[in-house]
């Protein structure tokens, strides 16, 4: 293990790696600060650039973007009451209040410092969990992987939409899209309808860029009016040590909650931030200050959304199953290089996994060092007019998608799925669940078919192997529990007609 860390550190501390991690962090802070551009969109925009990089460098850079964006989104949340990404939505309550009181620098500083604490802690948890879990997963055969992927998809889809049916539909459509292309077992083309371009399947990277980034451009374009201008001359006095120390309770809560939420598939920074804000208020000595410019009200969600970053890497690295958009994009970057995360990656390329661990620590340190200086340039870019920014993203998306395979068809896929993603979001379906299902679809089908090949066609392999059985039961419980609960509530006379209190 120590040997592996030395190996990882030697990769992560090379000048090229450091340069790309720094670039990733700054790009992430900027993307996070831009209203509407979330961390995963900022990551997706860089994805086409990674094909010429070493896989370890690509992963560290993308992790840097993810980490930086979690802090960046608090900049606009605090300064113009518009969260740069939903992950910082809970920060506006107290962050903007502090800004109005002339304590903008204090709010931004608390966000940066507690975010770094949350981020670093979550990397430690990631290392502590991912390594033993991956060792455990080495024993997994096709039936276990089948149970695992179905369980993961069940959680993601049922958490994703406002209505569970729509979340599940999003997931199933993703699985359906994943079946397009050459059948991995028989080699016959499926659902290609004579198109040679579709033989290789729908390009995942183009699909992610379309569903995440292009759909967001359409949403932003459709909104009348521009973003509020950010005043560059804000009070820049940073928090004192005493002020930072006064948030320890909220920071601890936020860090722990964020890490746990990050590990759970389907939940991310947004949910983590809101839970941390509520819990921070509940456990605070001065809950009455929340909403009136409480430092704890900034510390709780901001430590939580940064703590999500480490947690989200746990299922990706240990099992090869992405639980969030950001993890899906990291997986996309690996697949672009012909690699797949999971226990075998620990065995075959420990340098990639361990350099990511070290790289994430470096990224948090870079964020701490550059985070405050970089606010001013960020404000300048946010103040560039929205039409120019949106048009630029569209052009970047187009050339980026083309560059993946030197193929214009990938651009068409991104564009069409951009329209689909827009409609899905408009009608409360979940593009995230669809993307995650597209990624896992291949694994679900091959693990199912391989299981039955190994067991000579008997389905006993799913109930005689304990781990597989537990995972399948968990998946069924996830899918049917909400229905059972609904029926039970109805029997108890709870009216479902109004929105839940």
């Amino acid at each position: 293990m120590l040997h592996n860390f030395m190996l990882g550190a030697s990769v992560a501390f090379s000048p090229t790696s450091l340069l790309f991690i720094l670039f990733g962090v700054l790009w992430g802070i900027l993307g996070g600060a831009l209203p509407g551009i979330t961390g995963s969109i900022a990551m997706a925009l860089l994805l086409p650039l990674t094909f010429s990089m070493a896989p370890s460098v690509a992963l560290m850079m993308l992790a840097g973007v993810y980490i930086g964006a979690m802090y960046g989104s608090s900049i606009t949340a605090i300064l113009i009451r518009t969260p740069g990404a939903p992950a910082s939505a809970a920060t506006i309550f107290d962050g903007y209040e502090l800004h109005k009181q002339g304590r903008s620098g204090v709010a931004l500083g608390i966000s940066l410092y507690t975010g770094t604490i949350g981020g670093l802690f979550s990397v430690v948890v990631l290392i502590a969990l991912a390594v033993p879990l991956a060792n455990f997963a080495l024993a997994f055969g096709p039936p276990e992987y089948f149970g695992m992927t179905v369980f993961g998809l069940a959680i993601i889809s049922s958490l994703a939409g406002k209505s569970m049916v729509k979340g599940l539909i999003s997931g199933v459509v993703g699985l359906i899209l994943a079946t397009v292309g050459m059948d991995p077992f028989s080699g016959i083309p499926r659902f290609t309808y004579g198109s040679e371009e579709l033989l290789g399947g729908i390009d995942l990277i183009a699909a992610m860029i379309g569903l995440f980034a292009v759909s967001e451009v359409f949403i932003q374009a459709a909104e009348k009016g521009s973003w509020a201008k950010v005043d560059e001359a804000f009070a820049s006095k940073l928090p004192t040590w005493v002020e930072l120390k006064s948030t320890w309770r909220a920071t601890t809560l936020g860090t722990v909650i964020g890490t746990i939420v990050g590990i759970m598939p389907g939940a991310g920074g947004t949910i983590g931030g809101f839970i941390a804000y509520n819990e921070g208020k509940r456990w605070s000595r001065t809950p009455e200050q929340f909403g009136k410019g409480s430092l704890e009200g900034v510390a709780a969600p901001e430590s939580a959304n940064n703590a999500v970053t480490g947690g989200a890497m746990v299922p990706l690295l240990a099992f090869g199953i992405p639980g969030s958009n950001a993890a899906a994009i990291m997986l996309g970057a690996l697949m672009l290089q012909g690699l797949r995360p999971g226990p075998m990656l620990f065995q075959n390329s420990p340098d990639i996994v361990y350099s990511l661990f070290v790289g994430m620590i470096i990224a948090n340190v870079f964020m701490l060092v550059t985070g405050y200086i970089f606010i001013k340039p960020c404000i300048k870019i946010v103040n560039i007019s929205k039409p120019i920014l949106m048009a630029s993203i569209m052009a970047l998306v187009t050339v980026g998608c083309y560059a993946i395979n030197n193929n214009i068809n990938d651009v068409w896929i991104a564009l069409i799925l951009g329209v689909v993603g827009y409609l899905m979001r408009k009608y409360d379906f979940s593009p995230s669940a669809m993307v995650l299902a597209m990624i896992l679809g291949f694994m679900v089908e091959t693990s199912l078919r391989r299981s039955l090949v190994i067991s000579y066609g008997s389905i006993s392999c799913f109930y005689t192997r304990p781990i597989a059985l537990v995972l399948i039961i968990l998946a069924l419980v996830t899918l049917f529990f909400p229905i059972i609960r609904a029926i039970r509530d109805e029997r108890n006379g709870v009216k479902n007609s109004g929105p839940a209190a």
Binding site: V165, F185, S186, T270, I388, Y402, A403, Y427, E445, P482
Partner: protein, 168 residues
């Protein structure tokens, strides 16, 4: 009753039928691989049909789907935020449809005029369409951005971008 959900449900139902229909001429399972290429897609078609029916029925009966009552301030807060993105009065269909149409024309133009000319044109027109009125800044930004993308992808990363009919 929510008509858009019912229409979406019917479209998905038709889609699942078409998807199932496409599996019918797949070859049967082989001796060693007993599920064959059609099993998994057919299963998915069934699940999608079931879920679409559920969506239609849920809305016909004008009841809220069971997943709605997750409750708690957390989910509520996140939901309210999502809804903000689509407060109907603030949506400009001119901007939306214009952006979508222009993007499609742009991708088609790339194969005709090449990357450089189409990108400059696309950027100038889209920036103007979205309401930016300073022409000099617009053209400067469009040309500058195209140059930056060309340098990054064609020069630094060595991607062969489409040159178009004028440069071939």
């Amino acid at each position: 009753m929510n008509w858009s959900n019912i229409v979406i449900g019917i479209i998905l139902l038709a889609g699942s039928a078409f998807y199932y229909y496409s599996t019918l001429d797949f070859p049967p399972p082989s001796k060693t691989e007993n599920l064959g290429p059609a099993f998994f897609p057919a299963l998915l078609a069934g699940v999608l049909a079931f879920l679409s029916l559920l969506l239609i029925l849920n809305n016909l009966l004008a009841r809220r789907a069971s997943g709605k009552q997750k409750g708690g301030a957390v989910i509520e807060g996140a939901e309210r935020l999502e809804e903000d993105a689509f407060s109907a009065e603030d949506i400009s269909y001119k901007f939306l449809l214009g952006t979508i149409a222009l993007s499609f024309v742009y991708v088609w133009l790339i194969s005709v005029l090449g990357f450089v000319i189409s990108t400059v044109l696309f950027l100038i027109v889209l920036i103007r369409l979205l309401g930016y009125e300073k022409w000099v800044n617009n053209v400067a930004a469009s040309v500058g951005l195209t140059a930056a993308l060309y340098l990054l992808f064609a020069v630094a990363l060595g991607v062969t971008l489409p040159a178009g009919i004028f440069f071939e």
